[in-house]
Symmetry: C2
Subunit: 182 residues, 2 copies
DNA sequence: AACTTTATTAAAAATTTATTTAACACAATT
DNA sequence: AATTGTGTTAAATAAATTTTTAATAAAGTT
């Protein structure tokens, strides 16, 4: 499998590419756009980058880098750094996967719990009205009750999700599941 | 199933729609296609459905339902049920969010850990070769060492992810984070 | 204050992805 | 064995999203 024509520098680039490819593929799977995914994976091996460096490194347009980097900032996987002497903005990738990926999930789960709980509360109010409504047949009332109970039961999941987020944010989860088990 | 134009029946449908909408939106966010997301959310309020019932309920084509239902089966959110007497296949939605969503994450995380660990191992071997290579300058060797160490450090995250999956699969996580906290 | 450099926004193009129509295959029933 | 009903695959269409080119705004320098 070894190519004698390749020098050590090229081998390093190849090795990096392997990891960059899989990291980007994973992020792609999570709904991050290809450009942003590739950008993060590339930045993972750099200490800091400007938009122009990103553009030349990935061979893409500057606006694409600009929007990608902002999305990565939104999910806390990239941070802006203040570099004096240069007018260009510089950005750094969060290299600690514990921090970057957990920030991602906490944001997702918090949003999910909030939105779904709101919808559930509203729907439950409607079901109660139906149950109270004298126009409702006993069949309809029974149906409304069933749905109400089903939603009530599902709340436990969202509460649990909120607890999970909290235990990740506080770091308490690492008392239960240590970071350096193996 | 007739279409009520007013009254309690309509209110029930409206209430269901509210929840269906947010569940579908959430799943959409997780990379599930709109058709599959809407289908699951609809099935969440039904005890069982055939492909034709899905088609009429969602107003979409049968192949779309067929592929959607299979994707939902892949992520364990829908199961086939054996209904004797009918030639049509019937499907049931997993209504327990603990089971359905956790199956989803375990599958994702397991895949992520496996793929990335494989890429990391390969890349690390390459970096070792570069370090051993007599053609490598001391600068290149230093670079390779840095990258090697960075990857080595990242392994802890993937091990932790595997541990998390295991604690979810075994149910041990619920000793730490009970399901009915609130 | 004008000029230069950099970043962002807007509109257009291109790519990708999802969905449908049409054809096929598979079972079950007659 | 032929027919009917059901589900799946393939090719084509439609829709959505991503990316780019071009224009604009913002910031810094002379």
């Amino acid at each position: 499998m070894s190519e004698p024509t390749e020098g050590p520098e090229l081998k390093i680039e190849d090795a990096k590419e392997k990891v960059i490819g899989t990291i980007a593929e994973t992020m792609d799977l999570y709904g991050v756009t290809p450009a942003a995914a590739n950008l993060y994976a590339t930045m993972y091996f750099e200490d800091q980058m400007t938009l122009d460096e990103m553009r030349t490194e990935l061979g893409m347009s500057k606006p694409s880098m600009s929007t990608s980097v902002r999305r990565l900032q939104d999910i806390k996987m990239v941070k802006k750094t203040f570099t004096r002497g240069s007018r260009k903005h510089t950005y750094v990738a969060e290299k600690n996967f514990f921090r970057s990926f957990m920030a991602f999930y906490c944001q997702m789960w918090e949003r999910e719990a909030k939105m779904n709980m709101e919808a559930i509360e509203e729907a439950q109010e409607d079901f109660i009205e139906v149950i109270k409504d004298s126009n409702s047949t006993s069949e309809i009332v029974a149906k409304a009750k069933t749905y109400y109970d089903q939603l009530e039961e599902s709340k436990a999941y969202y509460h649990w999700l909120e607890d999970l987020v909290e235990s990740i944010r506080s770091g308490k989860i690492f008392e239960f599941l240590p970071k350096d088990q193996k």
